[in-house]
Symmetry: C2
Subunit: 320 residues, 2 copies
Amino acid sequence: MIKAAAERLDGHARRTPLLGSPFIDEIAGRRVMVKAECLQHTGSFKFRGGWAALSAMDDATRKRGVLAYSSGNHAQGVAHAATLHGAPSVIVMPSDAPQLKIENTRALGAEVVLYDRASEPREEIGARLAKERSLTLIKPYDEPQVIAGQGTCGLEIAEQAREVGIEQGDVLVNCGGGGLTAGIALALEVDAPGLRVRPCEPEGFDDTARSLVSGRIEHNDRMSGSICDAILTPAPGEKTFPILKRLCGPGIVVSEDEALRAMALAFLRLKIVLEPGGAVSLAAALFHGDQIDAQEVVVVATGGNVDPDLFARALATLKD
Amino acid sequence: MIKAAAERLDGHARRTPLLGSPFIDEIAGRRVMVKAECLQHTGSFKFRGGWAALSAMDDATRKRGVLAYSSGNHAQGVAHAATLHGAPSVIVMPSDAPQLKIENTRALGAEVVLYDRASEPREEIGARLAKERSLTLIKPYDEPQVIAGQGTCGLEIAEQAREVGIEQGDVLVNCGGGGLTAGIALALEVDAPGLRVRPCEPEGFDDTARSLVSGRIEHNDRMSGSICDAILTPAPGEKTFPILKRLCGPGIVVSEDEALRAMALAFLRLKIVLEPGGAVSLAAALFHGDQIDAQEVVVVATGGNVDPDLFARALATLKD
């Protein structure tokens, strides 16, 4: 399924570059190569899953349109992929989502339906809309075509790592519901079996790390209150967790301050823009090297949709 | 020479991606594709010319070492290329250069020799050092191997533009002494004759634009006082200008404020970090579209070595 998705994405998704810097290696104490998925269309890997889902539908289904719940990267990925397919998209977003994200999603061609986070469950609004208008729901991670789409990033990593001589090592992936993490792990299992995936999460939202320890799905206590908003999910998915359990090494957990410092170093040394949730994996490589045995590491820098004020806060850490 | 340089650079320089965004196209009023040369090793295209020059030398010459005058991107490009070749490098820098640039150049393996801008001409110090230690000078732009190295960026543009269906259009290039501009123009002349180079400069430092109008080399009144420090040179080079004159369309001149706004939009929409001198070409596409007839435009975003305070100033333009 991942290879079939890669064929459908060819010429549409970007093959993002694998970047490195001697300055980053020096801090990390080992070679670190960064897969810059922030340079993907719509600023995150989510475009891959959106495109994979849309392109797998039959024409009639696609023409009726798609629906997604998201206040962030999945919304933009699905909206853009749908518009490029000539398909209508409806994105259900909380009414208190940042105005810029709402505007961006609309500008990418979606109809945005706002809901009140406190009073209306988004699932109900979504179910009603999907039924009334015969829309197909594209779930953000617990959905085989979405996992396959994100997995195309893993195929590229296998190839690009080989090109720079990395056949053994850890691949650090920012992990929310686990769609990208599972997809990459499945791709590497076949194409680069010497590379092992390590899920990376922010403190207080380490559901995947704890689930991997206990062997069953563990939940987070809360769903907000972190600057790493892109990767906050209640728990690993029913479909993704068995894959993570079978294929991944232990999770790595980083602090918000470390994520901000990683953003600043990505600015300074790699010239890429990362959002906090997109920099957690780089922070793990830079500041938690004691938890890594591998000589060489690939970091998946998953997204760059960050507002300027928060980015300025990250830059300020360079003065500490 | 450019194709020979490309063979020597293969596997060493990065093939930087060609990025685009519907939001950028909307502002520019046409399709704009951005060649993200800020993602090159050492954060600018200068690594190409440095590598081309080093790799063209015979072993004995290379072993004796190289010399460059530069306070910025050329220094880092030459230092890194020399170190990777196992060759010593001496970089002559003004003693008032930013501490970070001096440290970076040293960290990349160069010996930095500081001079007092007011009292000692750098040419004299350089000539003395070169003679005493049998070093070979690598000039920043008026040097055939350097022009050939920068031209490899043009070969990639020809290929990447074709991949996205651009066969006719303008290629906007940030222009200092004209090494990159001339190299790209020569590469496109053969590989993509439908693409025409337009040099882009900041206000007050439009020596190339004026030279193209008058048909002879014109000079700038001053050599400092712009945030676009990467592309401030006294005049187009003796070797580069005849190439520019033969192959380029008219120059485009942008303000410092426009360069800052282009940096902010590159942050927001492309997720790349540009320095002011690296964003002038994007500013030309975004804010001077009235001087462009072409339906489609390729922008060469030449570098990203900017300090955090100046970058924060660029981000603040998003609030205007």
